[in-house]
């Protein structure tokens, strides 16, 4: 019999992100070597509106994130909450990695935007075009509440 996914002993699968729940709260154990602290902060921050969040340190490389729902709690809800947290943690890891990998190019574009004279001239050109458009008639003829023209828009209430 060949080795297929169906033949993998489920006991051999190791949960990378472990959690325990006691009926009222769930504790997710996060390995800091796999999940940067900024990612833990980012994920935890997103849960403060619906859960009480507490961080503690078990050892140098492990953070325990405790979540207690502000509303009703049950083992199913806590398991789902831990799963959502795990997913969000992955999102945050990706965000941190993308942020790190694109930092140089973002700084480059910011510097170029601020200090390039050609950019300034193109901004001036755009502003001049906008001024010309504002001086032209409004083709859309949409009545706007901030317009001072009472002759076209005064047929509503009253």
């Amino acid at each position: 019999m060949s080795d297929t996914a169906a033949n993998i002993d489920q006991e051999q699968l190791v949960d990378e992100l472990q959690f325990v729940e006691d009926g009222t709260r769930v504790a997710v154990l996060v390995d800091e070597e796999l999940y940067p602290r900024d990612a833990v902060y980012g994920a935890a921050y997103l849960f403060v509106d619906r859960a009480w969040v507490f961080l503690s340190r078990n050892d140098d490389k492990q953070i325990e994130v405790r979540l207690r729902p502000k509303d009703a709690s049950s083992p199913e809800i806590l398991t789902a909450l831990a799963g959502e947290f795990a997913n969000e943690l992955l999102n945050q890891v990706m965000r941190v990695r993308i942020s790190d990998s694109t930092q140089k190019i973002r700084e480059y574009y910011m510097a170029r935007a601020f200090f390039s004279t050609s950019t300034q001239s193109s901004i001036d050109q755009l502003l001049a075009e906008l001024d010309e458009e504002e001086l032209a008639d409004d083709d859309l003829e949409i009545s706007v509440p901030w317009s001072g023209d009472e002759s076209e828009g005064g047929t509503g209430a009253g």
């Binding site: 902060y41 935890a44 403060v48 009480w52 961080l55 503690s56 340190r57 953070i63 910011m110």
Partner: protein
């Protein structure tokens, strides 16, 4: 009659302890807070807790400390990037 005293330990590597100190002053209306600072953590003790908020006070304080820590970390990071740019 005030609720029973509670304590919580916030690890210095996870919470901005300066923020925790500042926050402690904001909770004077619902409890008397005292801080005991150790090498790696600060222990916050809540005495004379208003019974109306006793069941959520410590949790609320921890959420508040976390949010403030994240906010300050973001600001520090932005300042650092500004200086490096």
């Amino acid at each position: 009659m005030p609720a029973e005293a509670q304590t919580i330990e916030l690890h210095g590597s996870l919470y901005d302890l300066a923020a925790v100190r500042e926050l402690a002053g904001q909770y004077g209306g619902v409890a008397r807070l005292s801080l005991e600072e150790g090498d790696h953590a600060v222990t916050v003790r809540f005495d004379d807790i208003d019974t109306d908020v006793a069941d959520v006070l410590v949790d609320h304080f921890c959420n508040h400390a976390l949010v403030e820590t994240v906010r300050r970390n973001s600001q520090a990071e932005a300042r650092l990037r500004g200086e490096l740019a």
